[in-house]
C-alpha cells in the first residue's frame, strides 16, 4: 500500500513538472505581453523598466526556474492586468468556482444515479426511454447553448431567476458562500443545473448500463432464489457493484467539471476562476494563465490519485501494487 502510494506520487510529480514546463514555455515563448499592457506611446525607458520588473529580460529557462522557485514559496507571480499577486487573485475567485462545481456535481449525482437505476431496472418502460433520450441530449448539446436557453426561459421570459452574477454571499463556517443566502441560491441554481447536465447524462448512461448488466447477473438470480426482495437486491447487492465504475468515472469527471466551469461561468457571468482564465487569455495576462493551468493540472493529478485509492477500497478484487 505504501509502496503503491509512493510510486503513484512520484508519477504525479513527473506529470506536473512536465506539464508546467510545456505550459510555461508555450505561454511565455510567444508574443510580447508588454506590448499589450502599455500605451504604444510610452517611452522606451518605461518599457524597459516594466520588462525588468516582470523579469522578461531573463532567458526563458531562468524565468522558468524563478517561477518554480516562487511557486514553492506560494508566490505565483503578479497579474499584469490587475497588478496584484496571482495567488490572492486565484484564491479570491476559487470559492465561487468550487461552490458552483460542488452544487452541480451534487445535482448530477442526486438526479443522474436514481434515474439511471430506474432506467436500468425497467429498461423497456416509457420512463426509461425518456430518461435515455434526455441523457443523449445532455451530452451532445453544447453546454453554453443550453445555458443560454436557460437564461432565455427563466430570466428573460419568465423573470423567475437572475440571469447572471453570484448574488449575496454570507459567512458560513470559515468562508463566504452564496449557499448561505436565498439570494445566493437563486443565482447559483441555473448555472449549477447547466454545468450538471453533461455529468448527469454520463451518470445516467453509466448507472443504467451497470444496472442492466447486473440484473442479468447470476449473483442477482441467486439472491432472488434466496428470497431477497427486489429492493434489497438493488440496494445491497447491485448498488455496491455498480458503485465501482460510477465512483471512478464520477471522480475523474470532477476534474473535467472544473474545466467546463469555464464555459458556464462565462455564460452566467459567474466570478470564478474559469471566467478569470478566459479574461486572462483575452488580455494576455500570462502569470494568471500559467498559474491557472498548472493549478488545474495539479488538481487533476490529485483527483486521479484519490480516485485510484477509492477504487482499490471499493473493489476487493483490486490489489494495490507498486508501479503501473
Amino acid at each position: 500500500m505504501f509502496g503503491y502510494l509512493v510510486a503513484r506520487l512520484s508519477q504525479a510529480v513527473v506529470v506536473v513538472f512536465a506539464m508546467s514546463v510545456i505550459v510555461f514555455v508555450g505561454v511565455y515563448a510567444i508574443g510580447n505581453p508588454i506590448d499589450v499592457m502599455i500605451d504604444p506611446g510610452a517611452t522606451q525607458e518605461i518599457r524597459e523598466n516594466l520588462i525588468r520588473q516582470y523579469g522578461l529580460d531573463q532567458p526563458l529557462w531562468r524565468q522558468y526556474f524563478t517561477f518554480v522557485g516562487n511557486v514553492f514559496q506560494g508566490d505565483l507571480g503578479r497579474s499584469m492586468v490587475y497588478n496584484i499577486s496571482v495567488t490572492s487573485l486565484v484564491f479570491s475567485r476559487l470559492p465561487a468556482t468550487l461552490e458552483l462545481v460542488l452544487v452541480s456535481v451534487t445535482i448530477a449525482a442526486c438526479i443522474g444515479i436514481p434515474a439511471g437505476l430506474y432506467a436500468g431496472y425497467r429498461p423497456n418502460s416509457i420512463g426509461a426511454k425518456l430518461i435515455m433520450a434526455l441523457s443523449v441530449l445532455g451530452f451532445s448539446v453544447p453546454t453554453f447553448w443550453i445555458g443560454m436557453l436557460l437564461i432565455m426561459a427563466f430570466a428573460v421570459e419568465l423573470g423567475w431567476l437572475p440571469s447572471g452574477g453570484r448574488g449575496e454571499v454570507a459567512e458560513f463556517l470559515w468562508f463566504k458562500t452564496s449557499l448561505a443566502t436565498s439570494n445566493g441560491w437563486s443565482h447559483i441554481i441555473m448555472p449549477a443545473v447547466n454545468l450538471s447536465l453533461f455529468k448527469m447524462g454520463l451518470l445516467i448512461r453509466l448507472t443504467r448500463a451497470g444496472m442492466v448488466e447486473a440484473m442479468g447477473a447470476e449473483y442477482v438470480r441467486f439472491a432472488r432464489a434466496q428470497g431477497l426482495p427486489d429492493r434489497q437486491i438493488v440496494f445491497s447487492h447491485i448498488l455496491r457493484n455498480i458503485s465501482i465504475p460510477v465512483v471512478t468515472v464520477f471522480g475523474l469527471e470532477l476534474g473535467s467539471t472544473l474545466a467546463f466551469a469555464v464555459v458556464t461561468e462565462t455564460v452566467f457571468n459567474w466570478p470564478g476562476v474559469g471566467k478569470l482564465i478566459i479574461d486572462s487569455i483575452l488580455q494576455l495576462d500570462r502569470p494568471v494563465m500559467v498559474s491557472y493551468l498548472v493549478m488545474v493540472v495539479i488538481l487533476f493529478v490529485l483527483i486521479n490519485l484519490i480516485v485510484d485509492l477509492i477504487y482499490a477500497r471499493l473493489d476487493p478484487r483490486v490489489r494495490l501494487k507498486g508501479g503501473s
Binding site: 443560454m148 428573460v156 454520463l202 467546463f260 469555464v262 462565462t266 493551468l293 487533476f300
Partner: protein
C-alpha cells in the same frame, strides 16, 4: 461534450472482417444493417441536407454576409419574416449589422464543418501515426507514447484546447491545430488498441520478416484492420470538434466575428438576448444542436452496425 464518451476501449478489440467478403459486399451489408433504424436514416438525411446547405450556400442564399457592401444598417435587428431593404423576406431575421441570419448561419455552418472535418482528418492522421508507431515498435517507444496519450485522455478536451489557444492565439489554423491536439489521442488509443491485437497475429510477423520497409508493413497490413473502429471514433470526433470550436468561439477565444462560425454567431447574439432579440442566438444554436445530434446519431448507428457483438 461527447468527446469523453468515445468507447475506444470497446472498439479496440474488433476483429477484421473475413477476407472472403468483397468490398462491395461489405458495403452492401453495412447499408442493409444501417437501414434498420429509422432514427439513423433520418439523422443521415438531415446531415446530408446540412452539408448541402452549408457548402452550397453561396448559390442560393439571398446575401453574402461577408460582403459589407450588401449590409445596410437600416436592416439591423429585423425580426424573422420581415422584408428588408433588399426586397426579400429575412426568414430568420437579421443581426445587429443588418446581416440576413439565414445566410450568416449557412456560411457559419460551412466554417464550422470545414473546421470540424479538417480537425477530424488531421487528428485521425496524427492519431493513426502515433498509435501505429507505438503498436508496431513496442517497448519503450510504445510505453512513452501511450503514457502521453493516456495523460491527455484523462484531461478534458476543452482544457487542452484552451492551453493551445492561450499559446497560439486566435484564427482558423490555430483553432484547427488546438482541436487536433485536443483530439488526436482518441484516435491514437483506438488505433493502438486494435493494432496491438493485430500485431500478435502471425501474418504481421510474416510480413515483418520480409525485406519490406517498416512503414509499408505498418500501413499496408496493420492499417486496414484498424479502420472500422476508427471510422466510428471519427464521426463522434467531428461532432465534438464542431461543438468544441463553437464553445471556444462563444468564449471569445475562437474565431473573430469577421470569420463567423456558428459559435461566434451565437456569441454575438448572446449580447442581445436581454433585449428580447432571441433570433440572433437561438437560430444558429438550433443549427448547431441539430448538426451535432445528427452526426452523433449517425455515429451511434455505425457503431451498432460495425460492432461484432451485435452481428446477426
Amino acid at each position: 461534450m461527447p468527446d469523453s464518451l468515445t468507447p475506444a476501449a470497446d472498439l479496440s478489440a474488433l476483429p477484421s472482417a473475413p477476407p472472403a467478403e468483397t468490398r462491395a459486399m461489405r458495403l452492401h451489408n453495412f447499408w442493409s444493417d444501417y437501414r434498420q433504424s429509422w432514427v439513423a436514416i433520418g439523422a443521415l438525411i438531415v446531415f446530408i441536407m446540412l452539408l448541402v446547405g452549408a457548402f452550397g450556400a453561396p448559390y442560393f442564399v439571398p446575401q453574402d454576409p461577408y460582403d459589407l457592401a450588401n449590409l445596410d444598417w437600416l436592416d439591423a435587428f429585423l425580426p424573422p419574416g420581415t422584408v428588408g431593404s433588399g426586397g426579400y423576406a429575412h426568414l430568420l431575421g437579421t443581426d445587429n449589422a443588418g446581416r440576413d441570419m439565414l445566410s450568416a448561419i449557412l456560411y457559419g455552418l460551412r466554417t464550422s464543418f470545414m473546421i470540424g472535418i479538417s480537425a477530424g482528418v488531421f487528428a485521425l492522421a496524427a492519431g493513426i501515426t502515433v498509435g501505429l508507431t507505438a503498436a508496431y515498435f513496442g517497448g519503450r517507444i510504445e510505453a512513452l507514447l501511450m503514457r502521453i496519450v493516456d495523460l491527455q485522455l484523462s484531461m478534458p478536451a476543452i482544457l487542452l484546447a484552451l492551453v493551445m489557444v492561450a499559446m497560439l492565439g486566435q484564427g482558423i489554423p490555430q483553432i484547427i491545430f488546438a482541436l487536433v491536439v485536443a483530439q488526436y489521442a482518441y484516435f491514437a488509443r483506438t488505433t493502438h488498441g486494435a493494432a496491438s491485437v493485430e500485431r500478435r497475429k502471425d501474418y504481421i510477423e510474416a510480413a515483418r520478416s520480409t525485406p519490406l520497409p517498416t512503414w509499408r508493413v505498418m500501413f499496408k497490413h496493420l492499417l486496414p484492420n484498424v479502420l472500422p473502429p476508427l471510422i466510428v471514433v471519427a464521426t463522434v470526433q467531428v461532432a465534438s470538434a464542431i461543438s468544441l470550436e463553437a464553445t471556444l468561439s462563444f468564449l471569445g477565444v475562437g474565431l473573430p466575428l469577421t470569420e463567423p462560425s456558428l459559435g461566434s454567431l451565437i456569441s454575438n447574439g448572446f449580447k442581445y438576448i436581454h433585449a428580447g432579440r432571441y433570433w440572433l442566438s437561438i437560430y444558429p444554436g438550433i443549427f448547431l444542436m441539430i448538426t451535432v445530434v445528427a452526426i452523433n446519431l449517425v455515429g451511434d448507428q455505425v457503431r451498432t452496425v460495425i460492432d461484432p457483438r451485435n452481428s446477426r
